[in-house]
Symmetry: C2
Subunit: 348 residues, 2 copies
């Protein structure tokens, strides 16, 4: 038993239809929709209710938004949905939106700066009430127009130089310290920090800096930072060659080396390389630790630093909501603590 996709009358009922059906004016319908029940006689109220049901009426958010100047839409610009971190943050965002009555418009830029620009313009065009940004290439210049247009911005995971906006993310410095010290305690005095280009991404910068600081403070310890751009195969090749060299050198000295990946995509990339080069037992050559805690980390037995992703998303929406409601205090930074999860790769 199947029925056609669309039937006769695609025209949806409007507030006028309901008013006529209920034998009243549209004002009362509007009042009903906005919950001003105390200003409606029980009788009228019942008639309206019935009319709405009979006509399958659903108010048009767009028209509503046009009139009152707010449409309950917020934009969520993310650089990479492929990164589990992003999806987890999203869950927090969605939960908070649900709780606060917002609808998130999720924009996935797929690591392309041009896309980010396009989406930001698009969001403005749809008059979202606020925007949460976890992007790659957006700078102060792209975000300022929003601010000037009265659209508040909350940054996730990374700040944007020159822009004073609320930010929520991991306490990168503390987390990188914990991770680095963990490796040192496990007896690794030679550690490679593997990170994507970090000049324009504050979180990567902070992680790298904290790693470097800890290593510098420990005598006999030797820290190396290797930059790897996942969007540039040539760069990846060079970085992996440099990394391979560290493995060989360590092996020659009869030691195992530790690599510290600045996020999950990097960890996956280097792990795949190690597996291709050394086979299934690559972990005997390299001890891998990674920021983020993707689901495959447990399967692969890789130690990680888990971020409070869900909280991050939730807090971002809360901040945004406050700004939308007119909060005018100075920009806030909300840094949440990470959690070191020790597995076989660096464990025992």
């Amino acid at each position: 038993m199947s029925t056609p996709v669309r039937t006769a009358a695609p025209r949806r009922a409007t507030i006028n239809d309901v008013a006529r059906e209920a034998g009243t004016g549209k004002t009362s319908i509007s009042r009903y929709l906005n919950g001003e029940m105390n200003v409606l006689s029980p009788d009228l109220r019942a008639r309206i209710e019935a009319a709405i049901v009979r006509l399958h009426y659903q108010p048009n958010q767009m028209a509503r938004g046009l009139k009152r100047g707010r449409n309950r839409l917020i934009g969520m610009l993310v650089a990479d949905l492929t990164n589990p971190y992003t999806v987890e943050v999203l869950q927090g965002v969605e939960a908070a939106c649900h709780a606060l009555g917002y609808m998130p418009m999720i924009c996935h830029a797929a690591n392309e700066v041009e896309m980010e620009r396009r989406f930001l313009a698009l969001l403005t065009t749809y008059r979202v009430e606020g925007v949460i940004v976890n992007a790659l290439g957006v700078g102060e210049d792209m975000l300022r127009p929003l601010g000037n247009g009265g659209i508040p911005v909350v940054l996730v995971d990374r700040s944007v130089s020159g822009l004073e906006a609320d930010m929520v993310g991991l306490d990168n410095t503390a987390a990188a310290q914990v991770g680095t010290r963990h490796l040192l305690e496990r007896g690794f005095d030679e550690i490679c920090f593997v990170v994507q280009p970090f000049d324009n991404v504050s979180s990567r910068r902070q992680r790298q800096a904290a790693f470097g600081d800890v290593m510098r403070d420990v005598s006999g310890a030797h820290g190396l930072t290797v930059v790897l751009d996942l969007n540039d195969e040539a760069s990846v090749g060079r970085a992996l060659a440099a990394l391979d060299h560290t493995v060989d050198a360590a092996a020659a000295a009869g030691r195992r080396i530790a690599w510290f990946a600045a996020n999950a995509p990097v960890a996956l990339r280097v792990a795949l390389h190690l597996k291709a080069r050394y086979g299934a037992h690559w972990q005997e050559r390299v001890a891998l630790l990674s920021f983020d805690d993707p689901d495959w980390a447990e399967l692969a037995g890789i130690s990680t630093i888990r971020q409070p992703t869900c909280d991050i998303g939730y807090r971002a929406v809360e901040f945004l909501s406050q700004r939308i409601d007119g909060a005018t205090e100075a920009a806030r930074d909300c840094l949440l603590a990470g959690e070191l999860i020790v597995r076989a790769s660096t464990g025992r």
Copy 2:
């Protein structure tokens, strides 16, 4: 050097402002916005251009949509963004939307049927022009209102009984046959098909049926289907116990058994269990093959059946677009071919 998030005048320029600034009427502005350049004198056109830049004018999509009855918004309802399959389909959807000038509103129901219902209502409320659905619990009853309201629906990965709508997804039967035969060829005559509850999900049903059919046709082969509900730990426990039993029995007979996971989340769950039970070398006990091809499959060396996810998303939008443009032909099913990727788990 940092500056405050919001400055004085949050009021955005409207078409009227631009008209005044350019010394003309709003009609001309509207024409300019809609690209009717051939109907504008070069002079007027230049003035408008200048005014728009000077005022940082950006047309309001909402108002525009309200007037012309279409807002270029399409809804994308997905059950689980945690599943890499979903994200990949999304990429196709986004690409197609970009190409066709639509903006997808992504709704993530996080495997909760109640959420799916809510989002569907919300999308209607925002008057999206069409909806792409890859959900769990939505049935004909939840989708029909959209159709009646003139909002076309395209299904992804699974059909909905009683609803005649375009559908695009994997050719499950062929893919399951290929996978099953691959295992048989590798010498496994005992295979467990592990799948989430499939009564209400057509794709799972088809995969299971094709598996069963192939196994039945081969004498000496023994196929078992184990149902595992990832949202119900008790169910998972029972399923894993049953699965463990197959491993033990096979081991007692000096054989290795094969498990065939109906999707990536299932594969991950059972792999984690195997690792916990048998240690890092669990693959010596069980040969795992899985639908979907998550990025960790390569790392873990697990054979998979990769779906043409990106195409699926792209086609879904194309179908939807045609319906939005008024196509009225009978509902179409678009079944795309999968690709078997042999790795160590079942390889050589």
